[in-house]
């Protein structure tokens, strides 16, 4: 029987796969890597693609990852999978969006104040009207 090693595939949101493997293929940025037991320690980032795990029972699991990290130690291999497609400009766009939202919220705060002011004025006007009506009624009696 061939040598096996332990594989953990986890993402920030969930544990995707955990078990023994005979061989593992992963889409590293420099090209696909195949990993057997007793591989030398390696740390690399992954491209979006497919991770294939060959179990000792001869089964093959296909897991799609949208990038991430691959950490290899002689007996343990860990895939830290991303849950979203990542790229510098995409991240930048997300950051810009978050900033814009903050600015918008600040702008809306002003709108809030206007609304509160209008509400206060309305309440005052209603109170005045009520007072006038009460005066009228008093005069009638």
């Amino acid at each position: 029987m061939a040598m096996t090693f332990h594989v953990d595939i986890v993402s920030a949101e969930e544990e995707i796969y955990s078990g023994k493997a005979e061989m593992l293929f992963a889409p590293a940025v420099m090209g696909e890597v195949g990993v057997l037991a007793h591989h030398t320690p390696l740390l690399t980032s992954l491209k979006p693609g497919e991770v294939r795990v060959k179990t000792p029972e001869g089964e093959e699991h296909f897991i799609y990852v949208s990038g991430g990290m691959l950490e290899i130690q002689p007996h343990v291999v860990t895939v830290l999978a991303d849950t979203a497609i990542r790229a510098a400009d995409l991240d930048e766009a997300a950051a810009l969006e978050a900033k814009e939202r903050a600015e918008k919220a600040l702008a809306e705060r002003k709108a809030d104040i206007d609304y509160a002011l209008a509400e206060a004025e309305l309440a005052e006007a209603i109170a005045q009207l009520q007072a006038i009506q009460r005066l009228k009624q008093a005069r009638r009696h």
Binding site: E13, L42, L43, R86, E97, A98
Partner: protein
Amino acid sequence: MAVGKEIRNQIKSIKNTQKITRAMEMVAASKMRKAQKRMEASRPYAQKMRAVISHLAHAHPEYRHPYLLERENVKRVGYIVISSDRGLCGGLNTNLLKLVVTEARQWKDKGVEVKLCTIGQKGTSFLSRFGFDIAAQQTQIGDQPGVADLIGTVKVMLDAYDQGEIDRLFVVSNEFVNTMTQKPVAEQLLPIQSAEPEEELKHHWDYIYEPEAKEVLDMLMVRYIESLVYQGVVENIACEQAARMVAMKSASDNAGNLISDLQLVYNKARQAAITQEISEIVSGAAAVG
């Protein structure tokens, strides 16, 4: 019967409210369980990350990532504030925001500026009304947030850290102690504190890096911080649901008490009316006879 129409209406309306609060209680209970599961599911990733980072600290004593270095002069600090989007969850957000305001005041007393970034509607509206400097925000993340929802806000703060605009970064969120107790906590994200060597390695070894050690490390650090913030968000959702469950349970109980009190008043009034009617009939009959 005309007796106590107002009371009967009041009882009916309280019963309707009670139905709503009871439904909300049950929804919150089931959502809480799901959120707790997600909370547990997110742990292995951060644990693995931490293991890799501590390996790296061992293997690479000469290269220190800026995220691991303590800065001497703290002029500005950043906070990521995680609150809920919706209310009706007791004092959950109030307690959290109180903590943020006290911390901010302490920094200001020391002459340190505070920069915020908010996740969640409640924190955003409260803190912007209070006149805090909010650099980025994210709201409406729903009950099942993804890491993708948080990339932007976290990046704004990390960029600010890289550029020296902030010298420390904290995350404020509720900690799920148990269903009845949630505790607001402020945790330091940057510089990373938990990268202490776990055990003494027997022999010196290093990874092979592809492409470059620095690039791989940068990527790893960003992911690590994101996963910590994500954990905070998921935990905060579990807290929100737990707090809502408890709040709605006490609301339902209060409604029950109100109903039984009103029912007593109503029964008394009805009995009095019947007694009066009978005595009128009897005295009428006596007058005729």
